[in-house]
Symmetry: D2
Subunit: 341 residues, 4 copies
């Protein structure tokens, strides 16, 4: 059985694990105040070309979204997202649990359209009754999106300009950022991300770490007493070293980019195999998630030989399936899949 189920099936990249092993017996202080966290922060600041950035390490993606969104929004504000946004669909209502409405607008293969965002905001402020409505306080977008798609730099700049015009914040969920940065078809760099948005996170869990996401506040805009609120969310790790050491490793000698490039290379080969075998791709993904439409009976047979995941129905007799590569996908996995298909 070969697995293309997702990008969190295996443990950590060996380089990351090695560092955990080497540092294991050192006694360091807790809650992110250790030297490894400091070093990782500094390396991330450099990689972002954003020396004044504040960097915090949290454990997982949904947790990070809930903490960042709820601490940056005012009580009367909600967060705008594409209908397919992770916070709107697959976080079990974690944002609403913090008291904030998720304001959905249409998606286009997972992406927000800048013009539709602008329209939404114009209609909101044009509505005489908007004091009785939830104020849009932030735009959330994921890059890559849940559909594996990427924003262009120009799209991100348009969205950012709209946010600035309406005095709302721009937050980028980078759960799979490493795979976006390494895409063959992108003009968006980490520096650009840091410059364009107010806050984003660099995903570790899906890009080679055992766990961990690095939140980057780029505009000296960390909410006051952020650590206290992280604790309040049950999101403050006692052994903060676990996160600091991993991110320090990921941002040493470009490991984060190496992981990304490897997964993208595998994904491109995967895409080639799928296309070669005649599978229909409902949209094009330039990142590590590849989507195909499978006839339902064919899908059932395939399930016994390869692990992949199900996105939803395409029509009555077809399903959209997802194949994902990661740092741990091997050339053998691709060959194996090729034989099966």
């Amino acid at each position: 059985m070969v697995s293309f189920e997702n990008d969190y099936t295996t443990g950590a990249h060996p380089q990351v694990l090695k560092r955990l092993l080497e540092t294991n017996l050192e006694a360091v202080s807790g809650y992110g105040s250790d030297a490894y966290c400091s070093s990782a922060r500094e390396k991330i600041r450099k990689a972002c070309a954003c020396p004044e950035a504040d960097v915090y390490f949290l454990v997982g993606g949904t947790q990070t979204n809930a903490v960042v969104i709820s601490t940056m929004l005012k009580n009367y504000e909600g967060v705008i997202t594409a209908a397919t946004g992770h916070i709107n669909v697959h976080e079990a209502g974690a944002i609403e649990y913090t008291g904030h409405k998720v304001l959905e607008i249409p998606h286009h293969n997972g992406k927000i359209n800048p013009q539709e965002l602008r329209d939404y905001l114009q209609v909101f402020y044009g509505d005489e009754t908007h004091e009785h409505m939830v104020f849009p306080g932030m735009v959330y977008l994921s890059h890559p999106t849940e559909y594996g798609t990427l924003y262009t730099k120009s799209e991100l700049e348009s969205i950012s300009a709209i946010c600035k015009a309406y005095h709302i914040q721009l937050y980028i969920d980078g759960a799979r950022l490493g795979y976006g940065l390494a895409s063959l078809d992108t003009d968006v760099t980490l520096e650009a991300i840091a410059e364009i948005c107010d806050v984003f996170y660099i995903g570790g869990t899906k890009v080679g770490a055992l766990c961990g996401e690095a939140v980057v506040f780029t505009k000296k805009n960390t909410p006051p007493h952020f650590i206290t609120m992280v604790k309040q969310h049950g999101a403050l790790l006692a052994k903060g070293r676990l996160l600091g050491i991993q991110f320090d490793a990921l941002f040493t000698e470009n490991l984060y980019w190496k992981i990304g490039r490897h997964a993208i290379e595998m994904a491109e080969q995967l895409k080639g195999v799928l296309k070669e075998k005649g599978y229909f791709m409902p949209w094009d993904s330039p990142t590590n998630q590849q989507f195909i439409v499978l006839e339902n009976e064919r899908m059932e047979k395939l399930k016994s030989q390869v692990k992949f995941s199900f996105v939803g129905k395409y029509d009555k007799t077809h399903t959209i399936a997802r194949f994902v590569t990661s740092w741990s996908t091997t050339q053998e996995d691709i060959e194996h899949l090729k034989k099966i298909l």
Copy 2:
């Protein structure tokens, strides 16, 4: 510099780390559905002599308290705790953040007194206006407590009987349970804990893991859709394997107890040294946390040679200090401290 600062300064017990390394490249499914989690669950059930127990793995202590308490309480209920309870003092209001009041009663070296608990409940239900008040829905206690003290089995049974009489739940915070079970001065076993309470957790973070706490629902009383609510709290780890593998290691060949016994042995030696040197202990702790009263100037000098933590003022010129041992405390650490003192 030698450190007795706390029990989460070092990484993971080498046996735990070894297992993470050995299993690193296996592709397993996420969110706690893998074979390592299953194996760990089974081992914990056996160790608790509670075959019907439901076991879930969460990441940290405050998170675990917030998830367990908020999912087991009704909206109109709060949780009773000793005034010194971790949830009442050092969790940044994480319980209140979920909408529930923390109802404090007096503490006695960190412990609840059963009679005072009973009185509290009698006064509550005797009050004509109690429909306008927060209903007590759970008793929270920590074992060992924040003062390093332990309940006797008889005390736990009394508290449990009162809870049953008033139809409220009993929850035991076992962040340092391993050190309580290994104490030389206890009649409380893991089996007894599982029998006496409705839900408890077995602390990993402070007892040899990188992170992780194992929640045990002992009475077939897991709240429906618990996993969904864990997700809603941002507490569901994608790579659940990280927790499963660690607890599987901790519950293999009694590692959890070995860690506990080692730390207790070190703590007993530590206590001996402190007493020998004439330090006053404001209360007796039979576990891995030892407390002494230090004259303030003496304390300042000591801080440059040994790491320890500060509990609070004893009087105008004295402070209560805490020295903590763990799985990673060595004989050399004790000798080193002895010399310093």
Copy 3:
């Protein structure tokens, strides 16, 4: 200036006010425990032909929605509504503030389509990842809707059957129920409402009271300690008499129906006038809210002579306007408007 702005511009129906005056000096107990509340409850039970109903009086509509929905949902559940539902648009996120997601489905002139509801539920339970999503726990609908439209009895029965099949609750927001019951074009009675749904409220604020909504739990399904949770929401009126006396008056000698019929008669005349004058109605409303499309310049002129409200843009040069009647609308108001138009 004549006003058709809404149905809460004037005070209380004179009969209601008269009763407040007559009873003013009687000393009664607080929080809804007085004889007037009891009498009103009994009259409402009779009017609903639901002798086992539990009736509670709250102050306003948004408050009622928040209290009912948050006390009936489990933590992991959200509430399904038409996109145009009041809870989704005009309650400033009051439902999300209680921690629950509002799950929107399309609307058809303000109404839910039973088949689309069924599809939503089928897709949800058919999704392998639904444990990571918000469970649908309740269907919310308003009758009349925000568009003035009404469900047929058969539609309500279909929706109810779907709810039962999926074990979710059906809640009807009756802020304007009196105007729905009195419509010339409905087969839905108060008895039918009580039979079909699990909980609903009878609006007072917009149907002749100074304030007040009567929540009716129809299936012996009041959440335990409901009063405590009402208090927790800041929704328990000390002088509960204010609500009891008003509802007692509204349900004496069919006053609630008389108010409804009067407003509907006025609304039918209003509709006649609007049609006669050639105004385009974007949809037909059989209740006290009438909607027309106005050319923007025409609208500006009209605003100086008659008060009405704005629903939204129809197109670039036209706006949808709303004209509302109530118990206090007079024949002179209609004649006055006729002249203006």
Copy 4:
């Protein structure tokens, strides 16, 4: 049966009701935007000698506390109160429901001691771990307190100075403010209240209105989009006129003070009767609530002839009872009680 049960047993002061009647048929705009609300606001500003005050009308006391506290606190902050504070005991956890911890300090006949407040704040900021604790963000006190006691102007100034020194807000719950201002034994005026605190409310429900409390932000410090958050709490009355007209009446020709003085005169007579009859008063109350210690059997007998309320046990054989006067207490009520006693 004569009633001294509380100050919300009867309806509204006749002057208040008269104004509701006179204005009933006028069509005015909703949500507090009408001319009566404006007029009432202006009269309150004048009475407070605080021309820049922002005034909002809410419906009840618990609601007001929840709205004010939750909109003024940051997420990481809690509110300090005397242990006996209404928000800590009799609001069913309404503050915690908004996510904020209630931080209790000891009470002295219902009052906070300034020195103990200062100590609390010093200990908090002196604690090295305070970033893991709930930050004190506000001091709540009630004037009169739940014990009927009053702060002196000097005490309020001390508390205010401490609040300023620690950059926290001072909020005064004036549910019974009218009875405090009219006390024979006070140097605290409404102007002084407005000057000393950051926000307070003028109680209507217990001082002659059917319902309603007027929140006064005294330092140009209304939280942005306050109305939206009031709506979010389900606390925005559609017919805002109901509150505006009542407060306009209460602040016309000093009605609010007249009501206060009448109730105080009755309370002083009541106190005289109780003392004359030899009842023991556990503390002295200079306001409209009078407390006596009753032997339990005696109390049972008395209950059949006069209505009063029970505060709690004094000892095994005695109970503390409360007798309350209001605008509607008559000379006959006092005479009647005298005969009974």
